[in-house]
């Protein structure tokens, strides 16, 4: 059994608890939820009875009791394997829930009474609408909105990110989550959720799988599996009298073995594990989905609506080019820009330094020592005063003003350069040395690395990307072209976003979007898949069906792929399971009939040693294939973006053709191993 070797998807603790719960799940009441495996369990009970009373149905045969016992044992193991698969998937969720639960201690809260006095009560007694005061070093008792104060808050309990975040009343950074810690200052919070229904509670419940309901697609697939089970049940029940008429008396245990081989036990045993593992993959990704349905819907997404700032671009304007005015050497501008940014800690300043060095600036820091002039909203420039000169960089108006005061000349082509940069959607920073204007730094909103390829991949699987931005159309077009999105909405207001979503949905498309602000909440609710940022407002989180704990909007791309992978895993294993039946027929049909009809041996193309070894080999294969496929069910089938036709062809080859061939080989190998054993046992 391979699960001992693989360490990635299972740990020692999970293994232990899963084994225990695999036995616990044998309870028929629990098994009933999985009809396919329930049938196997019933088969087990019948075979067990036949082990002790082999002549119950007047079956005849040598060592019938032993044979029935072996069949019963294999059936028992089959059920156990299926339960184990489910337990492992659940175990992984539980392990994660445990860590979350640790943060959920019973905290005391300082409630502010109507008369303004403070009262200490237990957090569990807090109701929606209560106002509490939380000071540095204290846990926030429940989800809420800050109504007064500013504080930095450590959210590592939920996000795993240790750097504290700043939260203040009003705006998009007012929401706080229960279980996080105030690191500095104080805040007053109005509680927004009932006790026991906080975000943390919901997350724990979701991760634990307590509220897990079967998704629509899972229900549909389950229907198919149950109907297949029923069909094969009909086949087996009717086979008994039909065979009897033809002079073949099939022992009941053999009939049960045939039935269990034919019903889709492989997918039936792994189905719920696949679903849980899919959710788990999303959770591991630090995204909490409110339902499995949302993850499933991800697979169907046709259109992604993405905010430009933060999702597609860094949002910081970074230096991308130096544009010297005429008569100035590029090196002079480069060096001046370097000196002016030497102590500038802003992203603009840092990126200017980087660009200058990249372009060959080799100045010595010591030579440029002087005093740093920090940027301020009134001067709108920053720079460095060295022993030789004053270097400044800033907005073109401000720099021109300074140069004019010093009686310097404004170069004729400066305006043209500045306008050019603005038109491209960039920000121009003009650089001067004393009264001489040297040129312009082109600050550009930079597309995150790798996104262009990502969008290309999405296009391959038929997903359209639309970028939303508040920029003017020209700027939007520039960034859109650079990122390679399929469409953009410039000067986008929140209502434009909803309109865009509705338009796509009217065309029959499923839309996914990310958002964080209160403004985004209606759009998040309208979208089929809405991913809210944990840093966002609680309104946004409430409206979305997924929350990203790391607040990284690009994650929507991965989540879509996880959704697809989940469905693919289900489909592939179903195909595999059904395709297996061909080989099992070739093993069992000749085995049960060849005693009465010796010519049937022609169909024994695997040349299995004896009828009983053929039946048992098929049954054993049927059992061991389940644990062999658990890693696949946990990790999901390999996913590579390609067109639907190509992907279908590929998966059909692997799981369809493979599903036909694999059991032929597997059953033959098992037969080779067990045939001598069975001879010793006299079966």
């Amino acid at each position: 059994m391979r699960h001992h070797e693989s360490s990635k998807w299972i740990t020692k603790e999970i293994l232990g608890s899963s084994l225990k719960s695999a036995f616990y799940k044998l309870n028929p009441k629990v098994m009933m939820k999985n009809p396919v495996m329930f049938v196997v369990e019933i088969g087990f009970f019948i075979c067990l009875t036949l082990t002790f009373v082999p002549s119950l149905f007047h079956d005849k045969g040598t060592n019938l009791s032993l044979m029935n016992g072996i069949v019963a044992l294999i059936l028992f193991i089959t059920v156990l394997f299926a339960n184990f698969a489910e337990a492992v998937a659940e175990g992984r969720g539980k392990a994660q829930a445990e860590t979350l639960k640790k943060t959920k201690k019973d905290t005391q809260a300082r409630r502010i009474q109507a008369d303004g006095s403070e009262q200490w009560i237990s957090a569990s007694q807090l109701n929606k609408g209560d106002v509490v005061l939380v000071k540095a070093g204290e846990l926030i008792p429940n989800d809420g909105e800050i109504i007064a104060g500013v504080a930095s808050i450590d959210e590592s309990a939920i996000t795993g990110e240790s750097a504290p975040v700043l939260k203040e009343s009003g705006g998009d950074f007012a929401s706080v989550t229960g279980g996080t810690t105030v690191v500095s200052d104080w805040i007053q919070i109005r509680i927004t959720s009932e006790p026991g229904h906080s975000f943390l509670d919901k997350m724990i419940a979701l991760v634990e799988g307590a509220t897990r309901q079967k998704t629509p697609n899972e229900i549909a697939l389950n229907t198919l599996l149950v109907s297949l089970t029923l069909i094969f049940f009909i086949v087996i029940v009717t086979l008994y009298p039909i065979a009897l008429y033809s002079g073949v008396k099939i022992p009941i245990s053999t009939l049960i073995a045939l039935a269990v081989c034919l019903i889709p036990t492989t997918i039936g045993g792994l189905l719920s594990a696949i679903g849980i593992a899919g959710m788990d993959r999303v959770t591991r990704f630090n995204v909490i989905a409110t339902s499995g349905k949302a993850v499933e819907a991800c697979g169907d997404v046709d259109t992604l609506i993405l905010d430009k700032t933060g999702t597609i671009t860094f949002g910081n304007r970074l230096a991308s080019e130096f544009l010297p005015v005429s008569g100035v050497r590029p090196e002079a501008l480069r060096d001046a820009a370097w000196i002016s940014s030497l102590h500038d800690e802003t992203p603009e300043g840092k990126s200017t330094l980087e660009l200058a060095v990249k372009q060959g600036c080799r100045l010595d820091e010591a030579a440029a020592q002087g005093s740093f002039i920090e940027f301020s909203a009134s001067t709108r420039m920053s720079g460095q005063d060295t022993a030789n000169a004053k270097y400044r960089k800033g907005s073109s108006d401000a720099i021109i003003e300074v140069v004019r005061q010093l009686k310097g000349q404004v170069p004729a082509d400066l305006k043209e350069k500045v306008d050019h940069v603005s038109q491209l959607g960039g920000t121009p920073l003009v650089v001067c040395r004393d009264a001489e204007i040297l040129g312009v730094i082109y600050l550009k909103d930079t597309v995150k690395p790798g996104l262009v390829q990502r969008f290309e991949r999405l296009r391959k699987i038929g997903i359209k990307t639309i970028m939303c931005t508040g920029d003017n159309p020209l700027t939007a077009a520039t960034i859109a072209a650079e990122a390679g999105v399929d469409g953009y909405i410039a000067e986008c207001r929140p209502e434009d976003k909803i309109a865009a979503i509705k338009k796509e949905q009217a065309e029959g498309k499923l839309v996914a979007m990310t958002g964080d602000g209160t403004n985004d909440a209606p759009a998040l609710a309208q979208a089929d898949v809405g991913l809210a940022m944990n840093s966002g407002t609680s309104a946004a989180k409430e409206a979305a069906n997924m929350v990203d704990l790391d607040s990284d909007p690009t994650k929507i791309l991965e989540v879509v792929e996880i959704g697809k992978q989940l469905l693919m895993t289900r489909g592939s294993l179903t195909t595999f399971s059904i395709a297996n039946d061909i080989a099992k027929y070739f093993a069992i049909i000749p085995a049960i009939f060849s005693l009465a009809i010796p010519q049937m041996q022609v169909l024994n193309i695997m040349r299995l040693a004896s009828p009983s070894s053929a039946v048992l080999s098929a049954l054993i294969f049927n059992a061991v294939i389940i644990p062999c496929l658990i890693p696949l069910a946990m990790k999901g089938v390999h996913y590579k973006p390609m067109s639907a036709s190509k992907m279908l062809g590929r998966n059909l080859m692997i799981y369809g053709a493979g599903g036909i061939l694999c059991p032929f080989i597997g059953i033959k190998l098992i037969d080779l191993m067990i045939a001598p054993l069975l001879v010793c046992l006299g079966i």
Binding site: I234, G299, I461, I463, V602
Partner: protein
């Protein structure tokens, strides 16, 4: 071999114009014959005060069932009272209850399983007022259900049952039956109301020669994929099928409607998909490429190819096996240069016999021009298997409906494999559709295997079996497959006119027909209400060769595997013991 190829190629040539015509009837498009038929239809609708407004799927199914129930009641009375009614020159008595029950269900369900012999069991009036009438109405019912299902799948309203039922009858079945009937009369098929005649044979013996309105029955028998012969020996007698030309005419008539339904589906699907595309891309319809809609559209072509492939595989096996001859005969030292000629008409030979056998069971007609009981085991496996599949073109309309259920299953599995929740023709396949489709899948094996098991387990069933061993089991399987698939061909040899067989096959026919139709209409009704999802590069395409191959495999896996154990004990065991 060349004979078979020529026959099939010629069929393709007539399929397209006829399919095109049926498509126009189904989609309510103008045809050149409208001025005449519109008047006829209007008279019918006005005089019967029929409401022509569209129906929901439940209404559609209910009206179909009600109309069929009324016809069953009327037909049953006629059979029970036929001796005293008119047009009974041969003095035939009333039909017994259980046989009447079986016969009436058999004809209303388009099965035409006959536990009686026409020449001795029915009066001319019964032949015309019950048998021929039901041959028209059962075919029209099946077709109507099919068109309604296709409309639902495509998101259109289901239409009006009476409208569909009347349009196909007046615009296609009656005119075509008239043409084929006249052709048969020209070729020598009797058409008279005069009584049977007694002739003196060459040996000086007397022989009763049955006649009657045979040509009229013969034409609709095939056009409506009915299959019940006027005479007991069906299309193997020269009175029903005198020449190679009538043989061809009968072959083509039974193939045309089921195949034309596929064409109709393809064309309607093409139109709908094109309209959706145009609406989404804001291009006017005239700008989109319309040339490819001719023929049968891409969706229709996939289904046609799948059915054709299944058909050709079966035909190949049957033809090969019959050409090999019977091994038991060969082992006894007799040479069989012409193959297995037992039970075959010399004038048709192996090629036309195996073609007819495969066609009649694939297109679920049930007429025979040779005795299926005497086919070689593997040759007999083919008609049996094709009735178990029940999707190889199938009966008028219902074959396509069954295939669409398999398409839904295939789409479900394939859709998942490309990482999307499944969809077909822009409609999402979800729990409700899967439930109905799954029930459709279950009902067929339940009827065939359940009743077969019952027959071999109880004394009254066993009494009907006339052959020992594996062949006896094949007889039983064949009888119930033929009933459940509404095929009606007999393996013959079974002593089937007993209470047990009349009642069990009657039930198999009834449930096999109506449960499936109601479930399938339910699927269409549920899909109809759904919004359309858009198509992109990530959508599963159902018009590709890959999908066609998957569909073939799904049909074999889901339908054939179910029956494999039973087949192994029947024809396969027989073949193996004979040494293939």
């Amino acid at each position: 071999m060349i004979q078979i190829i020529c026959t099939l190629v010629l069929f393709l040539l007539i399929l397209f114009p006829v399919g095109n015509y049926i498509y126009h009837i189904s989609a309510g498009k103008k045809t050149w014959a409208d001025p005449l038929f519109d008047r006829v239809d209007n008279v019918i609708f006005k005089s019967l005060r029929i409401d022509r407004s569209p129906m929901s799927w439940k209404q559609y199914a209910l009206h179909l069932l009600l109309v069929n129930a009324c016809l069953v009641a009327a037909g049953y009375l006629i059979l029970r009272l036929q001796s005293v009614l008119f047009l009974n020159p041969n003095q035939i008595g009333n039909m017994e209850e259980s046989l009447s029950f079986n016969t009436i269900i058999s004809f209303m369900t388009n099965t035409n399983l006959q536990h009686y012999s026409g020449e001795s069991g029915l009066t001319y009036f019964s032949q015309m007022a019950v048998i021929i009438m039901m041959m028209f109405t059962s075919a029209a019912s099946g077709y109507a259900a099919c068109v309604a299902m296709v409309r639902g799948l495509l998101g259109q309203r289901m239409g009006n049952f009476y409208e569909d039922f009347t349009r196909i009858t007046t615009r296609f079945l009656i005119p075509a039956a008239l043409l084929v009937g006249l052709f048969l009369v020209w070729q020598g098929v009797p058409q008279t109301l005069a009584s049977n005649i007694t002739v003196t044979t060459l040996e000086g013996k007397f022989q009763n020669l049955a006649r009657g309105p045979i040509a009229a029955l013969e034409s609709i028998k095939h056009l409506g994929t009915n299959g019940g012969g006027f005479l007991g020996a069906n299309s193997s007698t020269p009175l029903e099928n005198p020449t190679i030309l009538t043989n061809l005419a009968e072959l083509y008539s039974m193939m045309i409607l089921p195949a034309a339904c596929v064409v109709t589906f393809g064309r309607m699907a093409y139109d709908t998909l094109r309209q959706r595309k145009a609406a989404n891309t804001k291009i006017s319809l005239s700008q989109t490429d319309s040339a490819r809609g001719k023929g049968m559209g891409k969706e229709g072509r996939t289904i046609f190819l799948v059915m054709s492939l299944l058909f050709l595989l079966g035909l190949g096996l049957c033809f090969w096996s019959e050409s090999q001859g019977n091994f038991a005969v060969e082992n006894s030292g007799i040479v069989q240069p012409a193959g297995n000629m037992e039970g075959k008409e010399v004038r048709f030979g192996i090629a036309q016999s195996s073609l007819f056998t495969t066609v009649t069971t694939s297109f679920t007609t049930g007429t025979v021009n040779n005795m299926h009981d005497t086919l070689t085991p593997m040759g007999g496996l083919v008609p049996l298997l094709h009735m178990m599949l029940n999707v190889v073109f199938g009966g008028a309309g219902v074959g396509l409906m069954n295939m669409l259920v398999y398409v839904i299953i295939a789409v479900f599995i394939c859709g998942l494999m490309i990482g999307r929740t499944p969809e077909y023709l822009n409609k999402k396949i979800e729990g409700r559709e899967m439930k109905l489709a799954a029930l459709c899948l279950i009902i067929h094996p339940l009827l065939i295997l359940g009743f077969s098991a019952l027959a071999v387990a109880c004394q009254s069933g066993l009494e009907g079996i006339t052959n020992p061993g594996f062949h006896g089991l094949t007889q039983v399987l064949y009888e119930f497959s033929s009933s459940a698939a509404n095929n009606g061909s007999g393996f013959e040899g079974l002593a089937d006119n007993t209470l047990f067989w009349n009642v069990t096959t009657g039930m198999a026919m009834f449930f096999g027909r109506y449960i499936s139709i109601v479930l399938q209409l339910g699927i269409a009704g549920s899909l109809m209400k759904k919004g359309c999802v858009s198509t992109s590069a990530g959508t599963l395409r159902t018009d590709t060769p890959t999908f066609a191959v998957v569909l073939v495999v799904v049909v074999y896996l889901f339908a054939a595997l179910t029956f494999l154990p039973a087949l192994a004990l029947g024809p396969i065991a027989e073949a193996l013991t004979l040494g293939i």
